[in-house]
């Protein structure tokens, strides 16, 4: 990705706060974002797995799709994504993908059904920063009459992740303790509305909180007063999600990959598999029935040397795939990677080799996640 000139970069409402916390800022998806703070990526990663890590994800796109009924809104969304949206309960959240007509992935996103009285026809969407303008145009261009897209530019989004994250939030919002994974809970704290979802991108228990931009600095300061909380940058966010086996858009999934190839078929519920009615349904149902020709898999290189994105995957003397994300897993204490291989080689334990700096590095296909998920269900 070409680097954006400093002057063209966008800033989140926490920009000055990051600098005050000692962040090293880098360009990411058109924003100036913290890649790490003073502790460094390794320490920040391990802190999140042990305590509570605070992430600024305000660069992501927050928007609403709404109409006068849930059925109408759900039908409009189901024309764009393969997940079952209609059967979401109020406050329930689901992971899905915006699909191109050929079944390729335009973006991945979270969709939540509103639990508010008077907002029965509202869905809240969170999309990737780098895709959001294209996503909004795509969504707006495909909504039927009576269903609208509303952008929310004045909302910040933060995540608090790790085994102590929910207890930290519970000191302010005790009800969060019993809110299950992938569910929303709204709370008012000192006059500020917090939209809290029990979700995240680390494999740990935790929350993501949507909060008005003008209130986010004070809220983060308050969180940081808790000794269990430290700020965490994009570097550790990447190593945490990689260990958790979660896809990064533009790397592990893109317009050339289908959700089935990406091993995301769990995110396509039964009714949608049977009925179709989403972009690329023909290809996706064919891949569900007969298996895809290639599959996203985990890879564990032998030894200590990481294999990075772009490394070729070899078996039987030929190229069978490519690494799409790879690096060092601080909790695994060794290198971890994911990539796509021909389906015949996707079984865990299959020996392969990875071309790293011109040399063959032995590795094995491995089940993901590399670190067990600790979601609260």
């Amino acid at each position: 990705m070409a680097e954006t000139a400093e002057s063209d970069l966008k800033h989140t409402p926490l920009d000055a706060w990051h600098v005050a916390q000692g962040a090293r800022m880098v360009p990411f998806a058109g924003y100036s974002m913290p890649v790490q703070y003073k502790d460094g990526i390794l320490t920040e990663h391990l802190w999140t797995r042990a305590h509570a890590g605070l992430f600024d994800v305000s660069h992501m796109g927050q928007c609403f799709v709404h109409s006068d009924s849930w059925e109408k809104t759900a039908a409009a969304l189901e024309a764009l994504v393969p997940a079952d949206i209609l059967n979401l309960k109020p406050g329930q959240q689901r992971y899905s993908q915006l699909l191109a007509p050929d079944g390729g992935i335009l973006d991945d996103l979270m969709i939540t059904r509103s639990a508010y009285e008077g907002h029965e026809g509202w869905a809240y969407l969170v999309v990737n920063a780098g895709c959001k303008d294209a996503d909004y145009a795509h969504i707006a261009g495909h909504l039927p009459a009576g269903v609208s897209l509303r952008l929310e530019a004045d909302l910040a989004l933060i995540a608090l992740q790790g085994p102590e994250a929910v207890e930290v939030i519970a000191t302010m919002v005790p009800a969060i303790r019993t809110v299950p994974f992938m569910t929303y809970h709204a709370a008012q704290l000192d006059g500020v509305w917090l939209q809290i979802s029990r979700s995240g991108y680390t494999g740990e228990d935790g929350v993501e909180i949507s909060i008005p931009a003008r209130d986010v600095v004070a809220f983060c300061d308050r969180l940081l007063q808790d000794p269990r909380v430290r700020p965490i940058g994009l570097g550790a966010r990447d190593s945490l999600r990689l260990e958790a086996g979660l896809c990064l858009y533009g790397h592990d999934i893109d317009t050339t990959t289908s959700p089935v190839e990406a091993d995301l078929k769990w995110s396509i519920q039964k009714r949608r598999r049977e009925q179709g009615g989403f972009p690329g349904a023909e290809r996706i149902r064919r891949e569900l029935a007969g298996g895809p020709s290639r599959l996203r898999v985990g890879l564990l290189p032998e030894g200590r040397q990481p294999a990075r994105e772009g490394a070729e995957i070899m078996a039987e003397g030929r190229r069978i795939g490519v690494v799409t994300s790879g690096g060092f897993g601080p909790s695994v204490n060794g290198p971890v990677a994911m990539g796509y291989v021909e389906a015949a080689f996707a079984k865990p334990g299959t020996p392969v080799s990875l071309i790293v700096r011109g040399k063959e590095l032995p590795a094995r296909i491995a089940p993901m996640p590399f670190v067990p998920h600790r979601y609260f269900r």
């Binding site: 890649v35 790490q36 460094g40 990526i41 390794l42 320490t43 990663h45 570097g235 190593s239 200590r304 040397q305 990481p306 990075r308 690096g327 060092f328 601080p330 290198p335 700096r357």
Partner: protein, 122 residues
């Protein structure tokens, strides 16, 4: 003994006809937590500016270039098992290799401490 620096942030500390080579404190701070290091074999001939070692942090892989030409006469054997030493003490315990200098004249093309500090803005 005098220490010389390259624009790629390697140092060579010259003792007699041998140079102790590693990466600078500035380099390790930019790289972040080092998780892997690959050292050359003893006896390997390296050229000034040529690849001599590999160092990888959580985030990225980097080549380490030989500041001077010569033969690798020793490597820091303990380093691959404790790569964090490069972060903790880059210009001491975190040295990479010793090179027997083929041409001391090459040193004139490197920076001294004052020039290196000026370059990194220290």
């Amino acid at each position: 003994m005098t220490t010389y620096y390259t624009k790629d942030h390697e140092y060579v500390r010259v003792e007699g006809d041998t140079g102790i080579v590693g990466i600078t404190d500035y380099a390790q701070s930019q790289l972040g937590d080092v998780v892997f290091v690959e050292l050359p074999e003893v006896g390997k001939a390296v050229k000034a500016g040529g690849e001599a070692a590999v160092v990888e942090s959580v985030k990225a892989a980097s080549d380490v270039y030989a500041p001077v030409s010569g033969e690798v006469v020793a490597v820091n054997d303990g380093l691959p098992d404790s790569p964090a030493t490069i972060n903790e003490d880059p210009e001491g315990q975190g040295w990479f290799m010793k090179i027997r200098l083929a041409d001391k004249g090459e040193l004139a093309g490197l920076m001294d401490e004052a020039a290196y500090k000026a370059m990194i803005g220290a």
